[in-house]
């Protein structure tokens, strides 16, 4: 069989690019956040947002990462995160029913009474809150998922945004959905 014919190229799997939400439980040690952000920077992964905070368990922090990428990149990110000595659990919850929340503080320029009224209407429709007032600004606090916050920002933009701070997305699996799963899946 001296003439073996083979394909010219390996069949390539299809690339599905999408937004993924990854939650990471870590030991809250010195430098653990630097380890995670360093991993993303060093391997060229793009983070859309990353939030970190304490949990009810002592010395355990929870990190929520929103990242764009194709499936192979996401799989690599998860594996690389799991490889870190201080990570306890890594989950991609994109496909599992979950709650997403983000908080934004937005300082909006208020020209006159008419704009103040219009802004107040939007604040009420979006169930946001005015948390500080000055002669020519409102500072608004809004929580919701990313889409809601983006929608609010696009409507408020014409009035003039002076300053804005966003927390990035926090996420948690819905217990109502989780309870339908097998125990094995819940405690993976």
């Amino acid at each position: 069989m001296s003439e073996i014919k083979v394909l010219k190229e390996r069949p390539q799997p299809e690339k599905k690019i999408g937004r993924h939400i990854i939650t990471v439980k870590v030991q809250h040690n010195f430098g653990v956040l630097a380890r995670i952000t360093g991993l993303f920077a060093g391997r060229g992964y793009n983070i859309e947002s990353l939030t970190v905070g304490r949990t009810h368990e002592p010395n355990i922090a929870r990190i929520t990462i929103v990242v764009d990428g194709d499936e192979r990149v996401i799989e690599q990110i998860i594996k690389q995160l799991r490889k870190l000595i201080e990570t306890l659990r890594v989950r991609d919850i994109t496909e599992i029913p979950h709650i997403e929340r983000e908080l934004a503080l937005i300082k909006i320029h208020t020209e006159n009474d008419r704009t103040r009224d219009e802004i107040m209407r939007l604040v009420s429709i979006f169930r946001a809150k005015v948390v500080d007032v000055s002669t020519d600004t409102y500072t608004v606090e809004i929580t919701g998922d990313e889409d809601k916050i983006e929608a609010f920002i696009s409507l408020i933009k014409p009035f003039g945004i002076r300053e804005m701070a966003r927390t990035g997305t926090l996420a948690m699996v819905r217990e109502s959905a989780a309870s339908k799963m097998s125990l094995g899946e819940r405690f993976d």
Binding site: V6, R10, F30, T87
Partner: protein, 581 residues
């Protein structure tokens, strides 16, 4: 509870871990530890440069399978370890590096010899620790050894502020159980999934053109015996990566030798035409695969690796098996033995095809009786050592010739910087290997460019009477770069000519080593024979070789195996590029 200085706790843990040799160089922030080491019951090798110390610890670890230990001071001492740590990290070598740090109250003030060593070494270590409380010191040191040697091994760094090494505290050495329990996020996966192992066995039974592709993981996992058994049971030919050399005897008829950029014609042909590739402790590095979309286009792939992140990283595999290579192979062999087929008959035509490829293009070079061919030197080193020496190579052309023309037959026999490609690695690693394996002849095969990067540590080898044999393949060039310039940059030899060199013979003599030189092919054997007789100090052999010899075959970077360059260029003749397959 005993009460001791932090520095003495360090020594106690090293004793507890069974350390018999450490490599390093003292300085201000690590002085307390060196004071404690003064009375330590193990060998303490003072090097001339921290980078060499790190490579020595690495060579020691590669040759013995034990954890290598390197010690350095803060700031420049620690930053000098960086290349050595990155080298060990890329090749998964177990090391523990202990560095001094400025006292805690100085941290962050840009104090004398302060550097953020944890920040600097984070991406090039498996893990690192800054000790902030003496209470944690014994546990952190034990965790460092545990993390370094288990799972996918790697270097771990422990940074200890000077005031902690001076502080006196009560302590006890934590038990193995306590160490494991203290690392809840670290659970290396040892056992392969039985369903996946069954699937793999099924693919092996069905395959008509299978190839075993074996990497460094097989050596780290001590699985040479299992590889041999699997290959012979199922009659599957074996190709090894640069890092996998020695995991399967290269003198075996089933051996295809190395694959990839400087792989043999027959290994690359076999992989290219295979219908099943069994990757064992290998990671589909770009130097192995070439153009990934054209790598083994029709092969189903089974991938056995302890690191899940290595699987489907660059190439999507069909049957991933996460686990320790040795453990998984034992189960796979059992599974195959349960339901054997007529293996010899099944492989007959495939092995015949491979034999044809082997005969068509064996590893070869143009011989000469006027000028020393570098490949000839390697062959003669093979002959005079009966194929039994440990070979430690630098990085460059000589490394590839050492990989191609010495036939390796046992694991931990070929040491080189495969992943990072660190020039200057070969000689210090050879010193570490010889200290760890005094029973073996150890050769450092070095280039003139590579060797000079750690030449200072000839002093260390002389001081401790480490009888390594250093063979310099001296072509007066940064040869591999020159070769690429010849092939891909129209022979524009930019910054590769090492036109000023020391007289290597006199250089060796000035350090108290023996220096020898061969400039004609007829002198090669004589020089080697003389070198073999010297066993009380290092001996350096300067082989002045053909300056423009090339490493062939070669698959140019990013190209497919079909574009392998096979034959050396003759004067006035164009390079022949074979389009195969």
């Amino acid at each position: 509870m005993k009460k001791k200085r932090g520095a003495d706790i360090v020594v106690d843990v090293l004793i507890h871990e069974g350390v018999d040799t450490i490599f390093g160089l003292p300085g201000g922030a690590i002085m307390e530890v060196y004071d404690a080491l003064f009375d330590a019951p193990f060998r303490n090798v003072l090097t001339r440069h921290e980078q060499a110390a790190c490579h020595m610890a690495d060579g020691y670890a590669r040759a013995t399978g034990k954890v290598g230990v390197v010690i350095a001071t803060s700031g420049p001492g620690a930053t000098n370890l960086v290349t050595g740590l990155a080298t060990a990290y890329m090749d998964s070598i177990p090391l523990v590096a202990i560095t001094g740090q400025v006292p805690r109250h100085y941290i962050g003030t840009d104090a004398f010899q302060e550097a953020d060593v944890i920040g600097i070494t984070r991406p090039i270590t498996k893990h690192n620790f800054l000790v902030t409380d003496i209470k944690d010191l014994p546990l952190i040191l034990r965790q460092a050894f545990y993390i370094a040697r288990t799972g996918r091994p790697g270097p771990v760094l422990v940074d200890i502020p000077k005031d902690i090494t001076q502080q006196v505290a009560e302590y006890k050495i934590p038990t193995d159980e306590e160490v494991k329990e203290s690392l809840p996020g670290y659970n290396p996966h040892i056992e392969g999934n039985p369903i996946q192992i069954k699937k793999a066995a099924e693919l092996i039974r069905k395959a008509t053109r299978p190839v075993l592709y074996v990497g460094g993981g097989a050596i780290l996992s001590d699985a040479a015996e299992e590889i041999y058994k699997l290959a012979h049971l199922t009659q599957i030919p074996v190709t090894t990566t640069n890092m996998g050399k020695g995991a399967f005897p290269e003198t075996d008829p089933l051996a295809l030798h190395m694959l990839g950029m400087h792989g043999t014609y027959y290994a690359n042909m076999a992989v290219y035409h295979s219908d099943l590739l069994i990757a064992v402790g290998a990671r589909f590095d770009d130097r192995v695969t070439g153009k990934i979309s054209e790598f083994a286009p029709e092969a189903k792939i089974i991938h056995i690796d302890i690191d899940p992140a290595s699987i489907s990283k660059t190439i999507t595999v069909d049957v991933p098996i996460v686990g320790d290579v040795k453990n998984v192979l034992q189960k796979l062999i059992k599974e195959l033995e349960k339901n054997p087929i007529e293996w010899i008959a099944a492989r007959e035509s495939w092995l015949k095809q491979i034999q044809e490829w082997k005969e068509k293009h064996p590893l070869n070079y143009r011989k000469s009786d006027k000028i020393i061919k570098p490949q000839y030197v390697i062959e003669e080193i093979y002959n005079i050592t009966n194929g039994d020496a440990i070979i430690s190579a630098g990085v460059g052309q000589h490394q590839m010739w050492a990989a191609m023309f010495y036939k390796y037959s046992y694991p931990r026999q070929f040491l080189n910087s495969g992943g990072l490609g660190t020039m200057g690695f070969g000689f210090p690693a050879a010193v570490g290997a010889k200290i760890g394996r005094p029973d073996k002849t150890v050769f450092a095969i070095e280039g003139d460019g590579s060797f000079i990067m750690n030449v200072q540590d000839l002093a260390t080898a002389v001081q401790y009477r480490v009888p390594v044999k250093i063979a310099i393949i001296n072509n007066g060039f940064l040869g591999m770069v020159r070769q690429w310039q010849q092939f891909f940059y129209d022979s524009r030899y930019a910054s590769v000519c090492l036109s000023v060199q020391p007289d290597f013979v006199k250089l060796a003599e000035s350090f108290g080593a023996v220096g020898l030189r061969a400039t004609k092919p007829s002198e090669v054997r004589e020089v080697l024979a003389k070198a073999m007789e010297i066993n009380d100090r290092p001996v350096l052999m300067d082989f002045v070789v053909d300056r423009e010899e090339n490493v062939l075959p070669m698959v140019p970077a990013g190209k497919s195996y079909r574009e392998m360059i096979l034959t050396p260029k003759q004067k006035g003749e164009a390079e022949t590029m074979y389009l195969v397959g």
